[in-house]
């Protein structure tokens, strides 16, 4: 395609670079703002020498090995569980209608912010939680809640539960999205049918013939999840132990400590966090290699089944349990948000009141406006650059190189405790006062990757013949983009905007740090309330936190239906 250089085409070919630098520059600046203090350079405290004091202080922290171990194993094991569960569900329900149902149920779970999910799970599994109440006193005999160590157990089991439940929908939906791409769909369907016709049992056929082709498309999401969960804050903060906590939580607490000299130790800890995340990723890579190496003979040994019936039953049970758990968690939230007095063994509150909703709604309008305003601005900017970057791909008929795609993923792969504190430091150093735009920029770092990934699939799938016809009829590239491509892309664009909004709504650390507490969003308020005494108010906040992104997705689903309604 020969393209006349115009303002539009020049802008388009520039935009991938702008997009990458919007992501790369803050992360790099943030890392720099971390490395200097980590090696002892913090002029504010009169520290002007390069030394290893921070690391020495870190290795003198009581229980630092436990911290590292906890971060490593909770993230690794929860991801492993989530991947195994996804494979079970995908394999056993492959090509069945159930898969669509599960996708529809789990989709909304994906948009529940981590803080909200953690609070909901905490309500459920505590000794006085809904599960215990359902079985008390008739089964457990408990008139008072038992004194057991859940949640916040020292082994991180509650963290693993929380992370697994949050990761499962993500991996599953990413795999399903890959499976719906035309060429992959055809390939795996062919192979699956072939395997079945050769007498393989369905689940074995899936594992041997489909999974090897599918896994490469799941790899990047899995890595993102490993990286995220090894450094996540909200779930370990709410469900995890505190003596010691996970590394990321400890680092955050040191950064916020009154004792300002802890900053140096915190920076060193954040660098160690990066090393830890890398080692989790490398261990996973090693696991992949082992499976590939030792599993190869199993894949090709021709055995037609491995207790497929057992796997099927196992899948049915776990899927049911997961769904039951989620439904119960949501139900618990709703009950708490309306609960009057609710003494222990009762599974239902003594009375339902709207007091908590009233008092929350009085305080909320400003918060919701902030949340939505930041979300919409970040999403709009992200959409703008994402569309042009993808258009550039099409005009130049190249896909982003692997290095460039990795950079899009960068903010998701680098632990955010690591670079966000650095950004705050740099921001202070430059004397930037802007609060709103700083928060928007911070959100952009996380909104943009998700929107790019979700939109890229549809953009690359776009049937280019329409565009070619339009171009051959003399349309300018701008007009082709604007009048032919965008209308075709409306549904995925709206979906990706809803996703971007959901990601923005859920951001805790970027809002808190870059906004300096001046911009309260639902998530920062929810975490602040969760630190207080009122479980009922906390439940109200969590429900609103869940509803807001859901509204976004409903709009994304509704608008195309209204616009493209067949004319009477």
């Amino acid at each position: 395609m020969i393209i006349q250089p115009s303002f539009f085409t020049r802008w388009v070919s520039l935009s991938p670079r702008i997009l990458i630098s919007l992501l790369l520059v803050p992360v790099a600046a943030g890392l720099l703002g971390l490395i200097l203090p980590a090696f002892g350079w913090l002029p504010a405290l009169g520290e002007n020498t390069i030394n290893l004091r921070g690391f020495a202080a870190f290795f003198h922290t009581p229980g630092w090995t436990n911290m590292l171990g906890l971060s490593f194993f909770t993230s690794f094991i929860s991801t492993l569980f989530a991947v195994i569960l996804s494979i079970l569900i995908l394999g056993n329900y492959f090509n069945s209608r159930l898969l669509g149902h599960i996708q529809r149920i789990l989709g909304p779970i994906l948009v529940i912010p981590h803080a909200a999910a953690a609070i909901a799970i905490g309500f459920l599994i505590a000794p006085s939680g809904l599960i215990m109440r359902l079985f008390s006193p008739w089964l457990s005999g408990a008139e008072l809640p038992p004194d057991v160590l859940l949640p916040n157990d020292p082994y991180g089991l509650s963290i693993i539960l929380g992370l697994t439940l949050k990761e499962l929908p993500f991996i599953l939906l990413m795999a399903l999205a890959a499976m719906q791409q035309n060429e992959i769909k055809q390939l795996i369907n062919r192979q699956y049918k072939m395997a079945l016709s050769l007498g393989y049992y369905p689940f074995t056929a899936f594992c041997k013939a489909v999974l090897p082709s599918l896994y490469p498309f799941m790899r990047l999401p899995i890595y993102a999840i490993l990286a995220y969960s090894s450094a996540s804050i909200e779930i370990p903060l709410i469900l995890g132990p505190n003596s010691p906590p996970t590394l990321a939580v400890a680092v955050m607490q040191w950064f916020n400590d009154v004792d300002l000299s802890l900053r140096i130790k915190a920076s060193a800890g954040a660098l160690i966090q990066i090393a830890l995340t890398l080692s989790v990723l490398l261990t996973w890579r090693l696991l992949e290699q082992c499976v590939k190496r030792f599993g190869f003979s199993t894949f090709t040994n021709g055995r037609r089944q491995y207790g497929d019936l057992c796997w099927k039953i196992l899948t049915h049970t776990t899927t049911f349990l997961v769904l039951f758990f989620i439904v119960l968690a949501l139900l618990g939230l709703v009950l708490w948000s309306f609960a009057g007095f609710w003494p222990f063994p009762n599974a239902y509150p003594d009375q339902l009141v709207s007091l908590h909703w009233n008092s929350a709604l009085q305080q909320l309008p400003q918060t919701i406006t902030n949340t939505v305003l930041v979300g919409i601005t970040a999403t709009a900017i992200a959409l703008f650059f994402t569309l042009f970057a993808l258009e550039a791909e099409q005009q130049h008929q190249t896909q982003l190189g692997s290095a460039a795609s990795l950079m899009v993923y960068l903010p998701l792969l680098v632990p955010n405790v690591a670079f966000l504190f650095g950004i705050v430091w740099v921001k202070e150093l430059l004397g930037v006062k802007a609060v709103f735009s700083a928060v928007v920029l911070g959100h952009l770092l996380f909104v943009m990757p998700y929107m790019f990934l979700s939109l890229a699939i549809s953009y690359r799938k776009l049937d280019l013949r329409y565009a070619k016809v339009a171009a051959s009829l003399g349309c300018s590239p701008f007009k082709v983009f604007y009048a032919v491509k965008l209308p075709q892309l409306l549904p995925p664009m709206l979906f990706s905007c809803a996703l971007g909004l959901a990601v923005s709504f859920g951001q805790y650390l970027p809002t808190l740090l870059l906004g300096g507490g001046r911009i309260n969003t639902l998530t920062t308020e929810a975490v602040a309330i969760a630190s207080g005494a009122s479980r009922r108010l906390s439940a109200v906040y969590v429900i609103i936190q869940i509803l807001l992104p859901v509204v976004g997705f409903i709009l994304a689903w509704l608008i195309p239906k209204l616009i493209f309604r067949p004319r009477q």
Partner: protein, 444 residues
């Protein structure tokens, strides 16, 4: 289609808005400067004319009038812990009032912990930001105050400018100028008084412990029904300090006196040993057998509501009836003060050295000490935080505002007398925290 057409124009609008924000605030600053210039010549003669005996008061009054003028139209970012809906609601009311009275736009920035704001001010200081800090007003006391004062992060000598400060009768009430034994030197304004108050669920125990030794006996009889939050949590530390003072009282007077001096290696070993002995006995009978401690003392109330705990404690005793009213604690809750003493302290508001809106922050601090705001705060249904004002300094009508309506069944009985235990020197906090962490912190 329509959606896309609107986006660029929306974006342009946003960017224009962003560009204009600094301009708008710059205009505000200009206006303040102008007011300042016009005011000074006007007010100067007044200063000379006043009678000697009233000079101090009227100087204060004049300077305060100037402050009010400057503050008009300013925003105040009030950084305060946001974990309690009752306190948040009270601050919303304050925001409305200062807006009506002084045209000040007060924003409550809700903190999960006060140290977040302290580290923010430090970060600003280290980046050379000395005039445009984000924190205008900060709710603070104890260690956070000590840290900020030591690092010269606070605005100096402004308390004398506030007319309502005289109502606390500072000459007779040294508590309002001492923060955990450290003189405040006019760097913070007293806001409220708190004392450690215990509460229990009378449905599960009829004889709550009234002294520290009784607490140990009670815990052995009711294992797993009491806990405290791990230091450096404010409430957890308060419990430890209560125990420490009571245990030291049982020894020579010289040992107790050590608590009010900065700790030395010697005094640490001497004073803390009985505390660790006591805790070693108590911990096996605590909630979760003392293997897990809450990070946040406020969560104790939630656990009492869940019946996981039977006995809890708080620093704002007035909070308990309010919580029952909101269904957050059962009707069977009763409050009481320990017979052997209640740890008491005053909490303050302060202004960082680099606050951007100092004038308005001072006016808000003055309003917080006004009879109106203090009386409202003391009502159990609003917050129940005790006033710092000396009621004898007020007019009879003003005094009337402080008299409680009917006592709530869950509130502290009026006749419940308990000796007031004053806070140890603030440096003990860090010592207790580190030593506690070493003994009970990082174990599996």
């Amino acid at each position: 289609m329509r959606v896309m057409e609107n986006k660029p124009s929306y974006l342009i609008f946003m960017w224009i808005l962003l560009l204009f924000c600094p301009l708008i605030s710059a205009q505000g600053a200009l206006k303040t400067l102008k007011t300042l210039k016009t005011l000074e010549p006007l007010k100067a003669p007044l200063l000379i004319d006043t009678q000697a005996i009233d000079t101090k008061a009227s100087v204060t009054q004049t300077q305060f009038t100037q402050l009010v003028q400057q503050a008009r139209g300013q925003s105040v970012y009030f950084y305060a812990w946001g974990g309690d809906p009752q306190v948040n609601r009270y601050l919303q009311w304050v925001a409305q009032r200062v807006n009506t009275l002084y045209a000040i736009n007060m924003q409550h920035v809700k903190l999960a912990q006060t140290s977040d704001a302290v580290s923010r001010v430090l970060a600003e200081a280290s980046a050379g930001n000395t005039t445009a800090g984000q924190v205008d007003l900060l709710w603070i006391n104890g260690l956070n105050f000590a840290t900020m004062a030591q690092n010269n992060l606070l605005e100096a000598q402004w308390l004398g400018l506030l007319p309502n400060f005289a109502l606390t009768n500072p000459d007779q009430n040294p508590a309002v100028t001492m923060d955990f034994g450290m003189p405040t030197n006019g760097m913070e304004a007293p806001w409220g008084k708190a004392a450690l108050t215990f509460y229990y669920d009378s449905a599960h125990t009829s004889s709550p412990p009234k002294t520290l030794p009784a607490l140990l006996r009670w815990s052995k009889l009711n294992p797993g029904r009491f806990t405290y939050a791990k230091p450096p949590d404010f409430l957890g530390l308060s419990f430890l300090k209560y125990a420490l003072i009571i245990l030291s009282q049982q020894q020579e007077p010289a040992i107790l006196a050590q608590l009010y001096e900065p700790p030395t290696a010697q005094s640490q070993a001497l004073v803390l040993a009985p505390l660790w002995q006591f805790l070693d006995q108590l911990h096996p009978y605590l909630w979760r057998k003392g293997q897990y401690f809450l990070s946040n003392g406020a969560s104790i109330r939630r656990l009492v509501d869940d019946s996981e705990l039977t006995l809890g404690f708080t620093f704002s005793g007035g909070d308990i009836p309010g919580a029952v009213e909101r269904f957050e604690l059962p009707l069977s809750i009763k409050s009481y003060a320990m017979k052997d003493g209640s740890l008491s302290n005053v909490h303050f508001v302060t202004i960082p050295f680099n606050a951007q809106h100092k004038a308005a922050a001072k006016v808000v601090a003055n309003f917080l000490m006004s009879p109106e705001a203090q009386a409202k705060k003391q009502q159990p249904s609003n917050w129940g935080d005790r006033t710092v004002l000396d009621l004898s300094m007020l007019s009879p009508e003003q005094q009337l505002m402080f008299h409680p309506s009917k006592r709530h069944p869950s509130a502290l009985p009026a006749n419940n007398s308990s000796p007031s235990l004053s806070e140890p020197h603030p440096s003990w906090n860090a010592v207790i925290t580190t030593q506690w962490e070493k003994r009970y912190g990082a174990k599996q």
